[in-house]
Symmetry: C3
Subunit: 349 residues, 3 copies
């Protein structure tokens, strides 16, 4: 059985010692090799061994987690390393991120100390910090993730930041590849669905980028007020063009899903109403019929349902579809473990 050390030299050089913040930081050959290895890992054709022996990986959570926490903990420890979960604010000190702050307020420790100190103990630092949904410019600035990256001397791994969830995006593409064999020209729909409250752009951004980086034909189906950030959409367009796929927007969910091979359901907030919770919630009430149900699935006769989870049953997707034979949602989550073990093996060899 192949061992990590026998991985192709190109991918080893591409990932070793690097941070993993966005799929945009890697080119398509690198990302393709990563998926190849992850799939081989899933099928037991690669033995990753214990390349993390003597190493420790921090898992810094500013927000809740089920899949990421569990799968990262297992990945790290099964590779021989020590996982160190840290819940900021409850278990640790509250952190300050503003440069030059005169720290007379609530925050007890600045990232300029926290990150170097953690770097002195750890061989990599995973960070989860969601969008705060108050001020879009602030969320877009990725204050927390970029401060960890700036002040850490070890690789930083994005466990979902305010605008990106690259482990999810890659795990999703891995699942599509597992199901269809190839990725080029796959017809996938990112379908905005209703949800009681606005959610972050991280998953739609990361899935749109990953799908087009792998050459798929992506349709983003959403109400008019729910487009992606124009800058991100430009990146998605560029990535589609560079990799032989396409991207288009539709404001008609049924039209968009006709003939689709994958319907990726996900809700997110309207950038036009960012930080105005009441008005945003009023707006989304109009779109309660944006739900993935049997009728919608029937329009995509060869199509599969995907969702990053957690999902609001009978609001985003009906029970019938979630529990039906075309749902890939559990497989998507399961693939995260294989992807992450592979990625950690590459970064921390």
């Amino acid at each position: 059985m192949a061992r990590v050390k026998s991985f192709p030299r190109t991918i080893l050089d591409a990932f070793k010692g690097r941070s993993f913040l966005s799929t945009l930081d890697f080119n398509r050959p690198e990302l393709s090799e990563l998926l190849d290895l992850a799939m081989q890992h899933k099928h037991g054709r690669i033995d990753p061994g214990t390349p993390l022996t003597g190493k420790a990986v921090g898992l810094v959570f500013f927000d809740p987690s089920l899949r990421t926490r569990t799968s990262m903990t297992i990945a790290i420890q099964q590779l021989g390393g020590v996982p160190v979960p840290l819940h900021v604010g409850s278990e640790t000190w509250t952190l300050e991120f503003r440069e030059g702050a005169v720290m007379v307020g609530e925050s007890e420790e600045h990232i300029r100390e926290a990150a170097p100190v953690l770097s002195s103990y750890l061989d990599a630092i995973g960070v989860r910090c969601f969008s705060r949904l108050q001020d879009y410019e602030q969320d877009k600035a990725e204050t927390v993730l970029s401060a960890f990256e700036r002040y850490s001397s070890v690789p930083v791994i994005n466990l979902e930041s305010s605008t990106q969830h690259p482990l999810q995006g890659l795990g999703d593409v891995l699942t599509i590849r597992e199901k269809f064999g190839t990725l080029d020209q796959r017809d996938v729909v990112l379908a905005w669905v209703h949800h009681p409250r606005p959610l972050s752009m991280s998953v739609p951004n990361s899935f749109s980028l990953a799908a087009t980086q792998y050459g798929m034909n992506l349709t983003i189906a959403c109400p008019p007020e729910y487009g992606l950030d124009p800058e991100v959409f430009k990146q998605v367009e560029d990535s589609a063009q560079a990799n032989g796929g396409s991207v288009r927007i539709s404001h008609n969910l049924e039209e968009a899903c006709k003939g689709a091979e994958v319907i990726y359901a996900r809700s997110w907030g309207s950038l036009d109403f960012y930080g105005r919770l009441e008005q945003e919630v009023e707006l989304r009430q109009q779109y309660r019929d944006w739900i993935v149900d049997r009728q919608l699935m029937s329009l995509a006769s060869r199509g599969y349902l995907m969702h990053c989870l957690p999902v609001r049953r009978n609001v985003e997707v009906t029970d019938e579809v979630l529990d039906g034979p075309r749902s890939l949602v559990i497989q998507q989550s399961a693939n995260r473990l294989h992807l992450q073990k592979t990625l950690l093996s590459l970064i921390l060899r």
Copy 2:
């Protein structure tokens, strides 16, 4: 030294890959062999090895834990596995358990996703979810534990549910066996004691079942309003009859304890006053003299004190008795580790 793989075939077949929800799911020969092995493990006559290598066990806590969390974490890791503690609500998403729910409320993830996802990462899932003490029918339905069992594809281990605490019940019987050598016809009293507020039925239920499954003569001493659930009591009666022991109820604590070999102190709530906290607390004020003190212990001259802990000192049991030579409370807790290592070895070989 014997290794796990040389365990008797009968017990290996009985436990391998099975959930552990209640001692009622196993017959007496199986339970007896389990205790045999746990005692041999405690005395170092069995080397369990590392049968959990490459495996991971989740520990899903909806409620606090000291003994269970600590002893399970150690058991899993010393057997070679990865323990993954998850505190629902603070560290993870809040969960929905109602079938067919339209999820517009607070709950972010349905057990129908959470359990299969966890099953894809983990080799077994331990669950602790106490009784909510509001609605007895709901508690009795074991909504949480049974949903984990229904939707998980890996064994589920009860770390205390709303009506059962089987690891405690078995650990208690192990302690009695360690002290007395044999279990048949041991005279044990389950003694209701005062406590500032009503507690769950899980420990009285599990101890009553385990004691009678192992052929002991059980007296349940409690005020008239504090009987067990009639259905559970019927199971206890059946189990006594099937295994050569007996069960009786007494409303006179002193009479019940005369000549007892074990006084198992424990408080629980009145089913008649379930969900009516103020009235229940008023009721129990009448029974403040239901406490295990030196005088009561002197009625059981050969008798030992047991308690599952945590114990309210000088309310349930006096300092003098807890710190005296007849107290087994620490030994009871210590035995949990040996029982659990044995059980995990059997389930997850």
Copy 3:
């Protein structure tokens, strides 16, 4: 490479199986050998191996932690052991410490059960419980730490108590030795600095004791109302005299720092105003100019900045000094890991 078992016999006998509550419990030769070994460990000249195989260490936190939690978790697991972090109150039961308490209040478990039960599972128990800053006599009594020590049958390790933080004090001395080679007659200043609210005496106490135990010349610079506890100061004086160093107090920060080799910045509360938060905060407003800035550092031309962290930037120390070439604050934290691995190897061989 030397293994733990080849450590000098004297130090093995001094530490094996002992609690680590204060540096005062050990004599200078023992403490010197400990630093020697920790430094050799840092430089890879000692291979500690996995002396904690089959062992488990609890980390009981009543208060937040970043450095201690992370470095202890890694130290324990890299030595082959199982770390068991327990956050009291959120993850576990709330604890009672008063002897003879009639437990009708909020506390659910007494330390007289909790400590022996944990001792039955664990091979050592680390405890972090800060000063409550309400009642100095209570804080000084070290209720929590001393109760763990009294009722545990395994070594107890102080992870910062209400009046001591010995792992910090020793790690600090290790850093000074690393920088200067020797410790005798080093000129160090413990500099009280401004902070928005009063903090515990644990770090100033432990650093003052450790510095003088290793023969340094210590100046404590603080406003008149911020002296150490007279009893602790007497211990510091005794320790200076016994080990060839000195201690003096200055109420003039600039004068104190002239020519210093180390300026150890740290804030703490006024014992005269203990428990009177509003007045204490009013008092400390007068001393907002007690800050370590470039000008102060220039008085100590050969001097280094130290701080135990977390530090309030631009309140205790300016950005410029913290980010400058004379700051040792990250190195101090990094050294904690090497110290703790060495200490655990010695205690739990």
